[in-house]
Amino acid sequence: GPEAGPMVLAAASMQEGLEQAADAWAAQGHARPVLSFAATSALARQVEAGAPAGLLVSADEAWMDELAGQGLIVPASRRILARNRLVLVAPAGPAVDLYLTSGVDLAGLLGADGRLAIAEPDSVPAGRYGKAALTALGAWPQVADRLAVADSVRGALALVARGEAPLGLVYATDARTEPRVQVVGTFPAASHPPVRYPMAQLARSTHPDTAAFADFLAAPEGQAILLRLGFARAEGP
């Protein structure tokens, strides 16, 4: 086969999982896929501009819908690669376990002048899910003007890790990568739309291995890698 594998455009939050999956795939004797990580919005716009890539892993259904509407993906190839959970983190310290339920007093937990770190709630997927969850729990009005809005989940995580924000709202997968934070609560799955990473083959893709690699990711072996990193199974409870 060709010396380079298919080109995969993937949301930055999928980086670790996809790198490991690509290694595993290469270990099976395939050419290693070429992975490019950036914000989903940037990747989607590159696809719109005619980028020569094979597979897109989005952090967000909206962008995938947008590309589907333009006929830029192979509709039949679209599927969910993984799911994630939304958690509340705090700087590492004595263990805390909050029950995130309707009426939770987040403002009280933030103290007099603390801020809640969150990814941009109007645009970045993690922020949008977070806003939805906080709204569902009735906490949004308390914290709407107490946010520290970062450009990505990583930015929000950094603010908590540095102790600049007493609380932060990130994905479970992000929380476990950062030893300086602890998870203090998990948002109920019902409080926000499911956090899903859709994947699809691009209409323009030419590399013969593209579909096979996508299948590999969706197959038990690929899924196992993602599960180890804290993602939830694509299909399931």
């Binding site: 909206a62 941009e120 645009s123 970045v124 520290a148 970062a150 450009d151 930015g155 603010l159 600049e164």
Partner: protein, 229 residues
């Protein structure tokens, strides 16, 4: 443009102007040291000044967070001593914008400073001017083109500053959400192009105004020149 968008413009101007007001004297001092002194560590200082240019903006923002965060050495000291913090504040946004503009400003001023004919300063002293007065009346006006260029460059750079700002002081409406942050937000969502275009045009108009002002000032200072070929 919505009222919220106008507020973003006003905030951007406030942040940029504070950034330049703070950075200009510092940039001048650094340019002076680099152009006029033989300080042993000059090249290292020069490299340090260039850092915000070379590093990706988020790294600069990250370094600012380390230094000026509540738990950082400078931030902790500021908080303990004066009870102030720039974290999540528009002043922090100005700090980030100023730091990013610094290398451009130092360069422009330094170029002009090095072009000043120092013999003119000597004559001024024989006429009774102390060094500080020579600086004010001779050196500074003679490198005004550089200072103006620095101001325009710095203002433009501040208006466009994004990565360091969002990393350092986050993106808080009314406090740190400047034009680029608003534009970035709009760019993240499908169909946000209209808002992006609108806000980008405002940015362009602002810097065009700054350019026009500086051109006018330069021309005025230069006065009527030669009528030669």
């Amino acid at each position: 443009m919505s009222p919220a968008e106008w507020a973003v413009v006003a905030l951007s101007l406030k942040v940029s102007l504070l950034a330049i007001a703070l950075t200009l004297p510092l940039a001048f001092a650094l340019a002076w040291v680099l152009a006029r002194t033989r300080l042993p560590g000059r090249v290292l200082l020069d490299a340090l000044v260039h850092l915000p240019l070379v590093l990706p903006p988020v790294v600069t923002g990250w370094l600012l967070l380390l230094a000026f965060g509540r738990n950082g050495p400078v931030g902790g000291w500021l908080e303990a001593t004066f009870g102030i913090s720039v974290m999540f504040r528009w002043t922090g946004a100005a700090l980030a914008a100023g730091i990013m503009a610094l290398p451009l400003m130092v360069r422009a001023i330094r170029l002009s400073l090095e072009a000043v004919d120092r013999r003119l300063e000597g004559v001024a002293r024989t006429l009774g001017a102390r060094p500080w007065w020579v600086f004010t009346t001779i050196t500074l006006p003679l490198c005004l083109p550089g200072v103006l260029a620095a101001t325009v460059l710095g203002l433009a750079r501040s208006l466009g500053e994004f990565g360091a700002t969002i990393t350092f002081v986050s993106n808080i409406p009314g406090e740190t959400r400047t034009l680029p942050l608003a534009i970035y937000t709009a760019l993240q969502v499908p169909g946000g192009e209209q808002a992006v275009t609108r806000l980008a045009l405002v940015s362009v108009a602002l810097s065009l105004a700054a350019l026009l002002a500086s051109e006018w000032l330069t021309r005025r200072q230069r006065g009527r020149g030669s009528d030669g070929l």
